[in-house]
Symmetry: C2
Subunit: 205 residues, 2 copies
Amino acid sequence: MGKAGRPRNQTARRQALVSAAGRAIAERGLEGLRIKDIADAAGVSQGSVLYYYPELDGLVLEVHRGAVESYLASRQRAYEEAPAEDPAARLRALLHSGLPSMTDDPVHGLLYELHRRAGRSPGHAELMTSLFAREVAIYTTALEVGAATGVFSLAASAHDLAHGLVALEDGYGLHIVSHNAALRPDRARELILAHARAVTGCAGL
Amino acid sequence: MGKAGRPRNQTARRQALVSAAGRAIAERGLEGLRIKDIADAAGVSQGSVLYYYPELDGLVLEVHRGAVESYLASRQRAYEEAPAEDPAARLRALLHSGLPSMTDDPVHGLLYELHRRAGRSPGHAELMTSLFAREVAIYTTALEVGAATGVFSLAASAHDLAHGLVALEDGYGLHIVSHNAALRPDRARELILAHARAVTGCAGL
DNA sequence: CTATTGTTTGAATCTCGGCTCAAAGAAACC
DNA sequence: GGTTTCTTTGAGCCGAGATTCAAACAATAG
């Protein structure tokens, strides 16, 4: 009764599809997402897409999950690559990594696009919640380290201040990806930095 | 050569359609918006919707415009209804009017839904830009009055602080309408209030 | 090799919603 | 009454995209 046949190698193909779907969403948005786009981006036929993801929602959720993870990883990296003995520089690097760049930023654009589903889909809401909490955690650490070494003197609890910084980023970021003409990325970055200076009492930021 | 015939009364019908479309969008979102939904909500046939708005985009833009105006009017009202001799109370009222309420807030939900189009449609981007600028203006006034009467001692220019408050609202509001489980409206309100206290140096907030 | 099962394809079908349009209805004017 | 113009309707047409599916193809075991 030995089983035979071609072995499954679904994980590789799935990852390729997730990546392709991410590119397709970034390009045409969630509304215009067509199975054909995903298939083209992945270099396979429409049938294959359905073979692995009979429900497109599952694929989109996977894209969201991947975007959240890679975004968090990139922020963590930005934080850790700054000199550990300079908490101000680390916080600055963190702040810098949290705003969409001048040109249309694919990562941030994708995340905002996917967050739009959160209001109607528990799965996406969960991912957004998790992203927020983990960003807050990174900031909290950064602030606490600065306070412990005497570089920062915090105006409130590190946790509360971290919430504020993340929310500020989200608010400004929303306007930037939405092409608010009155709010250039440089200006937003400067405003956030000024806020951070105020709440940390650290002029060197 | 006297003209004859039924007079046009398009404005009334157009407003009814805009209102109906707003309700339909709030209910099913922009993605699922169907002409039939608008027609049903307005109590007319599909043909009538097309008669007044051959391009649905025009109707959606009108909905956005209306939402922005009525939202700004409601905030201005909240500000002015608070006692003029108490700048702190006025600022508090303003802050209170800027966050989605506990229950799914139809106004904020609609605005966030419409702002999503801004990244791809110049018309919507313009409305979002205008909304932001006018909110900043209201806050700037509120802060300057408080500073002039000695109730506030501002940590930075009123204009910059106003930007921060609006961005904070947008950031927290985004998470609230997206059902971020870790950020209840009460908590967000308290965090914003704390931030306002810090930058105005006004403990009475 | 054959058998067996996993994978891929793309043309055919199905479905939904936008759009057309001819006809009917309504209001003003003669 | 009749005429003219604006308005409304809804059935039917149409296309875009999802979904199905039978057949072809590939890898591995025996």
